[in-house]
């Protein structure tokens, strides 16, 4: 949830969550309710700054009386609803979804994927060695960031961030259909020929590491990426008067990537090319 100052008070909706009577402000999703109750629900395509596409279906829960499971990230709590978040049926779907994803894409840089795979006893290997995979090579067509769609779970976050929900640039969209659907520029043109303005707001929201700074991509390939050894410093971008917050990720005294705090009520984690990528001059020492 984004912090919005001076929100008018909202009506409370009573409903039952895992057997406990709960009240949440009207308009809250089941996921919001779970998070404030301390119930951990796995999510992938949900993002704190975006309207979820509810496409990954890893967050499904059981709503009593419904024929199918419901995505906790998007379904709003309704008065009198009875929600169960950890039934056999729920666990089964989460497990299979994780298996389907892990057997078709590379989840090695998706935070928490390994933990959930263990928790739900998912066995992606059981579809056999011949199971079709997304099979994409990293696209390196500019100096700033890399698109490694082998890791893409098609969560639509980058598309939404680039388009309607934040940037209004519409440089990328989903093309193709079904298992062949891919995030793509028009005619798969290099980013440098597309409308991309290199704000990197897609990288900010990507939940899998499919989109990453060239610095991070190179260091991972070289085996020198060491996240625990990095420091993070949040400061103010000095390029223009907007004054966005930037968080500098520093490893061995070098800035390796730049993110931005999502809870900033003005920028919500978004930056422009200068704040996001214009850090090289800081570390040119001669």
């Amino acid at each position: 949830m984004t912090a919005v100052p001076l929100q008018p008070p909202r009506r409370l909706v009573p409903f039952t969550l895992d057997g406990t009577e709960t009240r949440v402000p009207e308009g809250s999703t089941i996921l919001d309710a779970c998070r404030s109750a301390g119930t951990d629900i796995p999510t992938l395509c949900q993002g704190d700054t975006l309207t979820p596409k509810n496409a990954c279906r890893v967050c499904v829960v059981e709503v009593e009386g419904a024929r199918t499971l419901a995505p906790a990230c998007s379904r709003r709590a309704e008065e009198g609803m009875t929600v169960l978040t950890d039934t056999e049926r729920v666990r089964h779907s989460r497990k299979v979804v994780l298996e389907l994803l892990a057997s078709s894409t590379d989840l090695s840089t998706t935070p928490r994927a390994a933990e959930w795979i263990k928790e739900y006893e998912a066995k992606p290997g059981r579809f056999g060695a011949d199971a079709a995979r997304v099979d994409e090579q990293p696209k390196i067509d500019n100096d700033l960031y890399v698109r490694d769609y082998d890791k893409c779970i098609l969560c639509y976050k980058c598309v939404d961030a680039c388009g309607e929900q934040w940037q209004n640039t519409f440089a990328i969209a989903v093309a193709g259909r079904g298992f062949d659907a891919r995030v793509s520029t028009e005619h798969d043109a290099p980013l440098t020929d597309s409308a991309c303005v290199f704000c990197g707001n897609c990288i900010e929201v990507c939940p899998t590491g499919a989109l990453s700074f060239s610095t991070e991509f190179g260091m991972r390939a070289a085996g020198t990426w060491d996240e625990p050894a990095q420091t993070r410093t949040t400061t103010v971008c000095a390029y223009c008067g907007v004054g966005c917050n930037v968080t500098l990720h520093v490893q061995e005294n070098e800035i390796v990537k730049v993110t931005s705090p999502h809870d900033n009520p003005v920028t919500h984690g978004n930056l422009c090319i200068k704040g996001r990528f214009g850090f090289q001059h800081v570390q040119n020492r001669d």
């Binding site: 279906r57 499971l69 389907l100 057997s103 199971a131 519409f170 969209a173 259909r177 520029t185």
Partner: protein, 629 residues
């Protein structure tokens, strides 16, 4: 929005195709050649104007694809300039639809059906022979390319093929569309039943391909006085409004005006009409809910994207009695308070498109559509939008996205269409068969209508019988007739193996289960579904594992790709069916267990009905027919 274009420019034909649809570009900003001084001083349009035109994207893509055969980078750029759409988005839309190509291809594309009914009637052999004579699918030769296609909705004449030829259409230059076959140009030719020789000839000279038989050829019961929905097929001239009126047409609309909107809704509620698309939702309740919405405008959408393999009844209705749909839509629009109705028609139905376009145009000239329908002060008009080869666009919310110029991906519900449907406004979506039922309800009253059928399934139902029967076609029977009675009419095979009810998302029935009553509740109790009325009859000669594999391939191809359980699940299901295609017993057990697990998650966690039902038919074949025993 920052629009950025590559240097690729449209050629004259591409430009003309788009301009014929949208009119000449008003300024250099929208792709006019050369920029005038005035252009440099005034910027027009802007984001909200662009939003208003986004729904022209699909028609514009069609325009180029119809004229040139494929959509080049230059053409896409031009469309985007004209409509202020980002090229990446337009590319995403163009690549969503199977009938569009973003790579060069010949003007003539021959679609050869590989689906269930055609497979049961020799399409594999046909395709093998075609490969010998015309090369492999997808490789162009002699100005034609042939490709395998999902069900073409011509199942009664299986194996079927459809030839589409790109080029200028002389018959449609600025005039009202002529009824099918009236011009010599032949933009499309249906060859069914097809032989390889006939296909080669048709590909060489589409104009010489034999004309299709009239719609009545698909109705073995034609002329039977007991028919209700099909009563005019073969009797009325589908191109003549006068003939339609002479045969009882527009009596129902007059009655509707006498009853008023809420009176019409009441009548439909009392008649017990439920949707014929498969979900069996009460039509009157849907109309009432839409009519009551304070937000406006309200829209009516007729779902004519009949793509369920084995279904062709809506095609027959639209080709044989198109004014019935026009009248029924006018009544529905009146009931829900809509002034604009859309028909979302399958792209693979060129003749239905011609028939319906002609009917709409002539109804408009005669004041039966337009600002003052029948002089009653009610304004209503109909617009036909063509799909472009995507089964998923038959899903009621995917239709909205498709009409709006977005990728045809289903939306999540809630909100439901009656609250937020097309363009975010209250919308009632009904399919063709459901709508035409409204005519007998109003002509003879709810009570008379409800006297036919059973208590919960009232009226008559259309069934699309295909496969190994003597007389395939559309049959109309009162609800409650048994499957056996239907098969007797159609002439069942000697050694019946199974009947697939409800299509690819339906379920199989064994030869010893033919007494199942054909009602929504009866089929449900028997563990299957009426679905959209598909009755595919298979005899002992059919290799069931291959039928199942085709069903799985179909869903893999047609998944929109939005949600994980369906996008990847359909692929895993197909892989498993491939592995066990020649196996039984213990050799298949592991893969069957795997499919059950994946199938359960698809049913529980997919966004829309496609993913939720994609495993139904295969599961029923395993459990009821014991296919891999």
């Amino acid at each position: 929005m920052d629009l950025r274009f590559t240097d690729a420019a449209p050629d004259a034909a591409e430009r003309a195709a788009v301009d014929d649809l949208l009119g000449p570009p008003p300024s250099g900003w929208e792709g006019g050649t050369g920029r005038s001084d005035a252009d440099l001083r005034w910027a027009r349009g802007g984001a909200s104007a662009a939003k208003d035109r986004r729904d022209q994207l699909l028609p514009a893509l069609h325009a180029v694809n119809d004229r040139v055969g494929w959509i080049s980078e230059g053409a896409l750029n031009y469309i985007c300039r004209r409509l202020t759409v980002a090229p990446a988005e337009a590319y995403g839309v163009a690549t969503f639809y199977a009938m569009f190509s973003v790579r060069p291809r010949p003007a003539k594309v021959l679609h050869v059906c590989t689906d269930l009914a055609c497979a049961a009637r020799g399409s594999a052999a046909l395709r093998a022979e075609l490969t010998d004579r015309m090369g492999s699918p997808g490789s162009p030769a002699d100005g034609t390319v042939w490709q395998e296609s999902p069900c073409l909705g011509l199942c009664e004449r299986a194996p079927a093929a459809l030839l589409l030829r790109a080029g200028q259409d002389p018959a449609r230059d600025g005039q009202d569309p002529a009824p099918a076959g009236a011009d010599g140009s032949r933009r499309a030719a249906v060859v069914a039943p097809a032989t390889a020789a006939a296909l080669v000839t048709a590909a060489r000279a589409p104009e010489k391909a034999p004309q299709e038989p009239p719609a009545t050829a698909a109705v073995p019961q034609a002329g039977d006085p007991a028919l209700v929905l099909l009563r005019r097929i073969g009797v009325v001239d589908p191109a003549s409004l006068d003939d339609y009126r002479a045969r009882g047409g527009y009596a129902a609309l007059r009655r509707a005006f006498a009853l008023g909107p809420s009176g019409v809704v009441r009548e439909v509620l009392d008649a017990g009409l439920v949707g014929r698309g498969g979900a069996a939702f009460p039509t009157g309740r849907k109309w009432q809910a839409t009519a009551q919405q304070a937000d406006g405008p309200h829209y009516l959408v007729c779902n004519a994207d009949e793509s369920e393999p084995g279904t062709f009844k809506d095609r027959v209705l639209m080709e044989g009695d198109p004014y019935a749909l026009v009248e029924a839509m006018t009544i529905a629009g009146f009931a829900i308070g809509a002034h604009h109705g859309y028909v979302y028609l399958r792209g693979e139905y060129p003749r239905a498109y011609e028939c319906l376009s002609h009917a709409v145009a002539s109804a408009r000239t005669r004041g039966l559509l337009g600002p003052d329908v029948l002089g009653q002060g009610y304004a209503f008009d109909i617009e036909i939008r063509r799909g472009a080869g995507a089964y998923i666009c038959g899903e009621e919310t995917a239709i909205f996205n498709s009409i709006e110029g977005q990728r045809g991906e289903p939306r999540s519900k809630p909100p439901f269409p009656v609250e937020k449907g097309l363009f975010g406004k209250p919308t009632a979506v009904n399919n063709v068969e459901t709508l035409v039922n409204v005519l007998p309800i109003l002509e003879h009253g709810a009570a008379a209508y409800a006297a036919t059928g059973t208590g919960t399934s009232t009226g008559t139902k259309l069934f699309c019988v295909s496969g190994q029967v003597d007389r395939p076609g559309v049959y109309e029977l009162p609800f409650g007739a048994s499957l056996r009675e239907l098969l007797v009419l159609a002439g069942p095979p000697e050694r019946l193996r199974a009947v697939l009810l409800g299509g690819a998302a339906g379920g199989f029935v064994r030869p010893d289960e033919l007494d199942v009553p054909l009602t929504f509740e009866g089929t449900r109790a028997a563990g299957t579904t009426l679905g959209s009325g598909v009755v595919l009859v298979l005899d002992e000669s059919v290799e069931l594992p291959r039928v199942l594999l085709r069903i799985a391939e179909f869903f893999r191809d047609e998944s929109c790709g939005q949600c994980v359980p369906c996008r990847v699940g359909t692929v895993r299901q197909e892989e498993a069916l491939h592995r066990i295609v020649d196996r039984t017993g213990a050799g298949a057990a592991d893969d069957i267990a795997l499919m059950r697990e994946v199938g359960q998650a698809m049913r529980d966690a997919s966004i829309c009905g496609l993913g939720q039902t994609a495993w139904n038919a295969v599961e029923s074949a395993i459990d009821r027919l014991g296919v891999y025993k």
